[in-house]
């Protein structure tokens, strides 16, 4: 999820390039930079931060030249540092490149290139490409020859653009597995990962296809197939439709896209470096008292996490809402605070983390955005690697955080001897097998979920009920419902019902039960009992239960059967279906799904 833009024109293009870079910022960013060719030299300016911030630090818009490349980066590998920001340059400074994608044979290339004398200054895979081109060019031949020879060495995916001092009016670009399009205008010709980058200047476009490269100058572009060098003749496209201000990749809403991203998000959360998880587990074991802290969704993530630590690590780690932390938590030297935040900028969470630091406690973060405030202020941090989340309502980021808490709980459990290594192993196996099941469920269950949402649209008051960890899930599911449907939805532990809330129940109130799989014998029975209590008061009872659970199916008025999965991952399946239910309910009600009223993505103010 990075953005590439490049322009070559007959007059100075820096302002155009800068503006087009800004129009790519919505994709998420943690650093950015530009390289501009002038007087046969390539000047590069880059740093950490958003486009405006880097402009203040580096004065990007003060550069000058007629050909340039630009990049906004969302780090997935390698830290957020100025060195890791794009563009990357060859050691002689004559070549500079911006790249999206992943180069799989990066390690071999790096070794080979280092042996040939290339000096790597970043931790990125992208840098290898520019050294390949530069060393190839030294051996003789044209830039284009060196460029295509380099491309042929790359395994993996890329969309990339290169500028070269020897050919100062040219952009070399190529595509394989990542989008890239050319645009043609009076001001100059463009290369961009996303047509939003140039639609302010032209609607005359030519998307590249996989396996093609192009040589772009102010006069036009030559497109060729990489494999055999054959020229590609394709008519340009005239972009007459109004582009979406941001790409939803074919999905009608970012929320749905991000729900569908979750198989990948789970995989990523499962494969964040083990050392990070072990380190965090070590800190928990060393601490006198550990608090889990978040606010909003991340508070519910912490609440779900409590159950993991209780079950697998035999420890009670209180989940404290960040806004109440100051009043509630007794924290000092020897204690540990684990702060959870998607953006890493959440005001309440930063405040509470500051407080913990001031009192001498150790701090840790689980964060999605590299280089964010929280990731810089905590003593240790785990990046969840979920990719940018654009819908205001969090889905995939929350699930990934839960997976990381589960991994941490397992590590603490094994190291403290509370569970056997084999138990942890079994949980990991269930998690590894989970993503394809989620993928199928998203396809196969969502039709049922949508129809359930359509059938229950008349209810404006909802309770979401669960027991044990399903209570944690209920809290998060209810928050999703509130955020996107604007309905009155409250979660509570199913056992709590008869101690007051039952008085509210009548035939205008619907209750959504999150029924655990039957092998969770006690939780399952307790949940069924609660269903009976609501039913007896004429409340509508709907629920998510697992296939084969005939008792739940008989008791519930309506519901959706979920595919059977191991008990360890069953709460996650319930959560995903809860997200879909919120989505389709909101769709039926015609709500503004990606930007619910009164809400903002990252609450950075108090």
């Amino acid at each position: 999820m990075c953005g590439i833009s490049a322009v070559t024109g007959n007059s100075d293009i820096v302002q155009v390039l800068f503006e087009s870079l800004k129009s790519l910022e919505y994709r998420g960013y943690d650093s950015c930079g530009m390289a501009v060719v002038r007087h046969g030299e390539v000047a590069v300016r880059k740093n950490v931060g958003g486009v405006d911030e880097v402009n203040r630090k580096e004065h990007l818009s003060g550069m000058a030249g007629t050909t340039g490349i630009a990049h906004t980066r969302w780090a997935t590998h390698g830290g957020v540092t100025a060195q890791n920001a794009h563009p990357h340059s060859s050691n002689n400074g004559a070549f500079s490149i911006v790249h999206n994608g992943i180069i799989n044979n990066y390690r071999e290339l790096r070794e080979e290139l280092t042996a040939k004398g290339a000096r790597f200054v970043s931790e990125t895979d992208s840098e290898a490409i520019v050294h390949l081109v530069a060393l190839g060019h030294q051996e003789g031949g044209s830039v284009e020859q060196a460029f295509t020879a380099a491309l042929k060495r790359l395994e993996g995916t890329y969309a990339l653009a290169l500028v070269a001092a020897p050919e100062p009016d040219t952009i070399f670009c190529a595509r394989k597995g990542s989008p890239l399009a050319l645009g043609f205008s009076e001001r100059g010709n463009f290369v961009a990962s996303d047509m939003n980058a140039f639609l302010a200047y032209t609607r005359d476009a030519l998307p590249l296809q996989d396996g093609e490269y192009a040589v772009v100058s102010p006069l036009g572009a030559r497109v060729r197939r990489l494999a055999d060098g054959a020229a590609v003749e394709r008519p340009h496209m005239r972009i007459e439709w109004d582009p979406e201000s941001s790409r939803r990749g074919g999905y009608s809403h970012f929320m749905l896209k991000e729900i569908f991203d979750q198989p990948q998000t789970i995989r990523a959360a499962l494969h964040t470096p083990r050392e990070g998880v072990e380190q965090l587990a070590g800190s928990i074991l060393a601490a006198r008292q550990t608090y889990l802290m978040g606010v909003g969704t991340t508070h519910y993530v912490a609440t779900v996490g409590q159950y993991f630590f209780s079950r697998f690590a035999g420890r009670y780690l209180p989940a404290v809402s960040a806004d109440e932390f100051r009043e509630l938590a007794v924290i000092g030297p020897g204690d540990l605070l684990i702060s959870i935040s998607q953006s890493g900028e959440t005001y309440d969470t930063r405040q509470a983390t500051d407080l913990a630091k001031a009192r001498g406690a150790r701090t840790a973060g689980i964060v999605n955005v590299m280089g964010s405030s929280l990731s810089l202020m905590t003593d240790q941090v785990i990046f969840q690697g979920s990719g940018p989340e654009i819908c205001v309502v969090s889905t995939k980021a929350a699930l990934a955080q839960m997976v990381i808490l589960l991994r941490t709980a397992l590590a603490v459990g094994v190291r403290s001897g509370h569970i056997l290594e084999a138990v942890s192993q079994a949980q990991y196996e269930a998690l590894e097998a989970f993503p394809p099941i989620v993928q199928d469920a998203l396809n196969e269950v969502s039709g049922f979920v949508r129809n359930l949402a359509n059938r229950t649209v008349q209810y404006h008051n909802w309770l979401v009920l669960g027991r044990g960890i399903y209570y944690g899930i209920a809290l998060e599911a209810a928050l999703k419902m509130k955020e996107v449907t604007y309905l009155h939805v409250e979660a509570l532990p199913a056992g709590f019902l008869k101690h007051g809330t039952l008085a509210m129940v009548d035939d205008t109130m619907a209750s959504l039960f999150l029924v655990p799989p039957p092998e969770e014998i006690e939780l399952h029975q307790l949940t069924l009992t609660a269903i009976e209590q609501v039913k007896a008061r004429n409340g509508a009872v709907v629920g998510f239960y697992f296939e084969g659970d005939t008792r739940a199916e008989e008791l519930l008025d309506d519901g959706v059967a979920l595919p059977r999965v191991p008990a360890a991952v069953a709460p996650f399946m319930t959560l995903i279906v809860g997200q879909l239910f919120s989505y389709f309910s909101a769709l039926r009600l015609g709500r503004s799904i990606d930007k619910p009223r009164n809400l903002a993505k990252s609450v950075t103010v108090g």
């Binding site: 008519p235 074919g250 396809n443 129809n451």
Partner: protein, 401 residues
């Protein structure tokens, strides 16, 4: 980029209306569904349109001609053999050249413009794109499986209750010229070409969550009409409209030029009255009624959720509900459609292949073009009358001498 619109089929399931017209010429809210789709194409910058025609092709060409009146360049491609979508596309091949094109099935109606997102997905994905939609009727399921990159990974041919997805092909595509090679290989079978594209990971989806409907049965015309009108937010009344005395109007009522409406009439929007209509005194025109151009509605008549294609005359003191009336129909005084037999009775229509269930409990009559129904007839729910039929007046009393 050019668009190909498929409009050749006979569409027997939409009889009696398709006996006398090509399916895309069915009118809702006063306009042929073809016009909604060409407008939508235009808003995405597509003006060059190939319409594949055969059955009742003059019903299209006499209205759209070569498109200049609609801001389009239309070419007609005649598909006389019944050889499917593949056959239709092969006939278009030389007109399309080596350029990607948009393919639109002629029985599809959407609100808004799905072509923008479709073309955008094509531009970014670089492969064929299929528009996907939620099934029009709640309670139905889809059969398209997606992965997280929005590639279509599987089509379930016969969905069972265990494997139900949420999305269906919307009948809207962007296809690269490579499709013609595939068609050659698959002997013109388009379904197999789609399967090949899916198998090779070359078919991307683009979800459309705006209005969408596949018009295959006569009552779908009522659904389509409702879908269009549900988007209306305000009344639009042409300055030439004459109200004779007090006319009560509420909701988004659209009235075109040169319409005359008698005193005491109540119009409840959303409803549509086309140009040159005459609406008599004390009539009640309720929600989702659509009067095509040149319609005449007699004194004291009530209309509710019905579509009149145009040029028809409804006699005085009639009731027409949940019904579709073709062009130049004449209904005598006091004709009543019965549209309801109780909550539990699911109604259907009679066809040449037997009764077909509509799944709904309110259903009126479906009357083809140029039908004459005499005075005082009471029409059973689901009555279908073929084009051109004449039914004598219904008398309950003759002379007593």
């Amino acid at each position: 980029m050019k668009a190909v619109i498929l409009a050749a089929a006979r569409s027997d399931r939409l009889k009696p209306f398709t006996a006398t017209r090509a399916k895309p010429m069915i009118r809702v809210a006063g306009r042929p569904i073809l016009e909604y789709m060409t407008e939508s194409l235009k808003s995405a910058g597509i003006r060059d349109v190939l319409i594949v025609v055969n059955h009742k092709r003059e019903s299209i060409s006499s209205v759209f001609e070569h498109g200049h009146g609609h801001g389009l360049n239309i070419e007609y491609i005649v598909q006389e053999q019944v050889d499917g979508i593949g056959g239709a596309l092969r006939r278009c091949e030389q007109h399309l050249g080596q350029e990607a094109f948009v393919l639109v099935y002629g029985d599809v109606l959407t609100t808004g413009t799905p072509f923008g997102p479709l073309l955008e997905q094509f531009a970014e994905g670089g492969g064929a794109v299929a528009g996907l939609s939620l099934p029009a009727e709640s309670g139905e399921f889809g059969n398209v499986y997606l992965n997280q990159e929005m590639k279509i990974v599987r089509l379930v041919e016969k969905p069972t209750d265990r494997h139900l997805s949420n999305y269906v092909f919307a009948g809207l595509y962007v296809l690269p010229p490579a499709i013609f090679g595939l068609l050659e290989k698959r002997k013109g079978n388009m379904e197999l070409c789609y399967q090949d594209l899916i198998h090779d990971g070359k078919l991307y989806g683009s979800l459309w969550d705006g209005g969408w409907i596949d018009i295959t049965r006569p009552w779908h015309i009522l659904d389509a009409n409702r879908m269009v009108m549900d988007r209306w937010r305000q009344a639009e009344i042409h300055t030439s409209v004459k109200f004779q005395g007090h006319v009560h109007i509420e909701g988004p009522v659209h009235i075109e030029e040169n319409v005359e409406i008698g005193s005491g009439t109540v119009l409840k929007g959303p409803c549509y009255i086309g140009r040159d209509c005459y609406v008599g005194n004390n009539t009640l025109i309720r929600q989702y009624s659509s009067l095509g151009p040149g319609s005449v509605v007699g004194y004291g008549t009530e209309l509710k959720n019905c579509v009149l294609f145009g040029q028809s005359v409804l006699g005085r003191l009639s009731f027409i509900g949940d019904s579709v009336i073709g062009e130049r129909v004449h209904l005598g005084t006091g004709v009543t459609t019965v549209n309801f037999l109780g909550e539990k009775r699911v109604l259907g229509i009679d066809t040449e292949e037997g009764a077909v269930d509509s799944g709904r409990n309110k259903l009126g009559a479906f009357i083809g073009d140029d039908v004459v129904i005499g005075a005082r007839h009471v029409l059973r729910p689901g009555t279908s009358v073929r084009a051109g039929a004449t039914v004598e007046d219904h008398f309950t009393l003759k002379s007593i001498l």
